[in-house]
């Protein structure tokens, strides 16, 4: 009991306070000068810096571009799987399996698939009927952003499908059965009964996948290491890492961490508000 609490105070509360404290200093790992108190200068610097705005934009683009498809498809997968009488378990396991691989492995696989001579070009050209075109998956500004989204979508869509299936299974079957007897079509059943009752799970999945996307790092890191342009996919965590480790600017990196924390805290509070207001009772 006490040791657990002790670790908590050292490794969770202390650092977040410390992160804020450090963000008020000009602190450089390599410099021998003592850190200098500069108030909110790190923050004013960040919000005047095109590089940081670029990171905010890259993170936002990635988050929106990833979580919306994840939300739609995981809901669709879950409803479809739930409606099957057989092979439910098989589909769950199949869709979930990419989540078992580590994110570095996922990024490595897709780096080869995105090679100019790789599978991605073969598939897309096969579907679009445009043989021999290179779509520059890891080269073009916007396509590189889409490539990182594809990796993340692939890895996590099954994970959220499982959460949706768990949410669906808490809805009593009797409700939709009653509606069917009253003459509701499967579509009406879904739209007017399942979806409203599923709202707590939908809110949960939206916020969780958004939080997950805001923290993305491995894919972007590996892609830039592999030669992809940095600017379009320089997400906040990648920027924090570079600022702290490559540039040794600890104070500025801490300020970035606090901004990221603020965004995520805001989202979590939104989730609390939303899930408080619509507790469903049957």
């Amino acid at each position: 009991m006490t040791p657990a609490l002790l670790f908590f105070s050292i490794f969770s509360f202390y650092p977040i306070g410390n992160a804020f404290y450090t963000s008020l200093f000009r602190k450089n790992m390599l410099s021998l000068r003592p850190p200098k108190f500069i108030g909110f200068e790190n923050y004013t610097y960040l919000f005047g810096s095109p590089d940081f705005w670029n990171s905010l934009r890259a993170t936002l683009v990635f988050t929106v571009g990833t979580f919306v498809p994840i939300l739609l498809f995981s809901l669709l997968f879950a409803v479809f799987i739930q409606s099957r009488r057989r092979f439910q378990k098989f589909f769950q396991l199949a869709y979930y399996s990419p989540a078992v691989l580590s994110s570095v492995v996922a990024a490595a696989i897709w780096m080869i698939i995105f090679d100019p001579r790789g599978l991605a070009n073969q598939w897309v050209n096969g579907l679009a009927g445009t043989p021999g075109v290179d779509h520059q998956w890891l080269v073009d500004y916007h396509i590189a952003q889409i490539s990182t989204m594809v990796v993340y979508f692939w890895k996590y869509v099954g994970y959220f499908t499982i959460i949706f299936i768990a949410g669906l299974s808490t809805i009593p079957r009797t409700i939709s059965e009653a509606a069917t007897i009253d003459g509701a079509s499967p579509w009406q059943n879904f739209w007017f009964i399942t979806l409203p009752l599923l709202k707590p799970t939908t809110v949960l999945v939206s916020i969780m996948s958004m939080l997950q996307c805001l923290k993305t790092f491995s894919t972007q890191y590996l892609f830039t290491q592999g030669g992809a342009p940095k600017e379009p996919i320089n997400v906040i965590t990648l920027n924090i890492y570079d600022t702290a480790i490559r540039d040794h600017r600890i104070g500025r990196a801490s300020a970035m961490s606090i901004v990221l924390f603020g965004i995520m805290l805001l989202l979590t509070l939104v989730q609390f508000q939303l899930s408080k207001s619509d507790e469903v009772s049957y």
């Binding site: 009991m1 657990a4 609490l5 670790f7 908590f8 050292i10 969770s12 509360f13 977040i16 410390n18 992160a19 450090t22 997968f77 479809f80 409606s83 589909f91 769950q92 869709y95 979930y96 990419p98 078992v100 691989l101 994110s103 570095v104 492995v105 490595a108 696989i109 780096m111 080869i112 698939i113 090679d115 001579r117 599978l119 073969q122 692939w154 869509v157 959220f160 959460i163 299936i165 768990a166 707590p200 949960l204 969780m208 939080l211 805001l214 923290k215 790092f217 491995s218 290491q225 592999g226 965590t237 924090i240 890492y241 702290a244 990196a253 961490s257 606090i258 990221l260 924390f261 805290l265």
Partner: protein, 284 residues
């Protein structure tokens, strides 16, 4: 009228099956690609169209990373490191979460609610927001390039405590009281009664903690620079940098890194899925 409706519903049924099967094939294809490509020589992998059945087994792909570029077999050491770090974190997470969760579920003490809510509050702090200060803590104690540096920040986690508490709240008090009357010590009760009776939660939590560390790239990247102390994700990033032209060897590394997780997944898939599903029952 009736037969028309039935025909329509059969048609929709087939469409749904087709959709699910196509999606499954597309999701599984990259994993199959990883396995087949790991057996091919590099020139075969990027040939159009891709041949899904390898003509032979290119053992060289696996031998190159295992041997290492300097013949030092460093990859094996890195694999061992991943096992040590992930295993240690899984073990301590389970033990400390079970102890704390048990205390929060079954004991009455002053400030219990404050403790519980402050633990819940830490769940809102993302690791990415505190990693820089944590990194400072680790460097101040000179723990870079050590197991301690890799493990310490993850010893306890709030979600684990929450999970164990939720699991143990409905556990009947009578059994615990009966054991006390029979003269069992508090630790004995925990070890002989509480732990064995919470195996599903323990397994879920252990797997979650293990794979989170197995997957961890960012933190080892901060605190480890020496080759001997690297974990598998660090090795993969280094290897993809140095051997980017040898796709077969890259996929062989990916296969080696994935096999422990895939084996665990097929043996205990229930606890993987329950780890995800826990969230949707997370209320209050």
């Amino acid at each position: 009228m009736k037969t028309k409706k039935r025909k329509q519903s059969i048609f929709i049924d087939i469409l749904i099956w087709a959709f699910l099967v196509v999606a499954a094939v597309m999701i599984l294809a990259p994993i199959l690609f990883m396995f087949t490509a790991s057996m091919m020589p590099a020139r075969e992998i990027l040939k159009m169209p891709y041949r899904w059945i390898p003509s032979g087994f290119e053992a060289e792909n696996f031998w190159i990373p295992i041997k290492g570029l300097n013949n030092d077999f460093i990859f094996l050491r890195n694999i061992l490191n991943s096992f040590i770090v992930s295993g240690a974190v899984a073990l301590t997470t389970v033990l400390l979460s079970a102890l704390t969760g048990y205390a929060l579920a079954k004991f009455r003490f002053r400030g219990k609610n404050i403790v519980f809510f402050s633990i819940m509050a830490t769940m809102m702090i993302p690791f990415e927001a505190i990693m820089v200060p944590l990194y400072l803590v680790i460097t101040n104690f000179h723990l870079q390039n050590s197991y301690a540096g890799l493990i310490l920040p993850f010893l306890v986690n709030a979600f684990g405590i929450f999970l164990m508490r939720q699991y143990l709240v409905p556990f009947p008090d009578e059994i615990i009281d009966a054991a006390r009357i029979d003269g069992a010590g508090e630790f004995q009760i925990f070890r002989r009664i509480i732990l064995p009776n919470s195996l599903p939660a323990v397994a879920t939590l252990a797997i979650l903690a293990f794979r989170t560390q197995w997957d961890n790239l960012l933190w080892p990247l901060l605190v480890v620079q020496s080759e001997e102390m690297k974990t598998i994700p660090l090795y993969i990033t280094k290897f993809t940098g140095e051997m980017s032209s040898n796709e077969g060897a890259m996929m062989a590394v990916a296969v080696i890194a994935s096999i422990p997780m895939l084996v665990l997944f097929f043996a205990m898939s229930r606890y993987f899925l329950s780890g995800a599903a826990v969230y949707s029952s997370r209320k209050g």
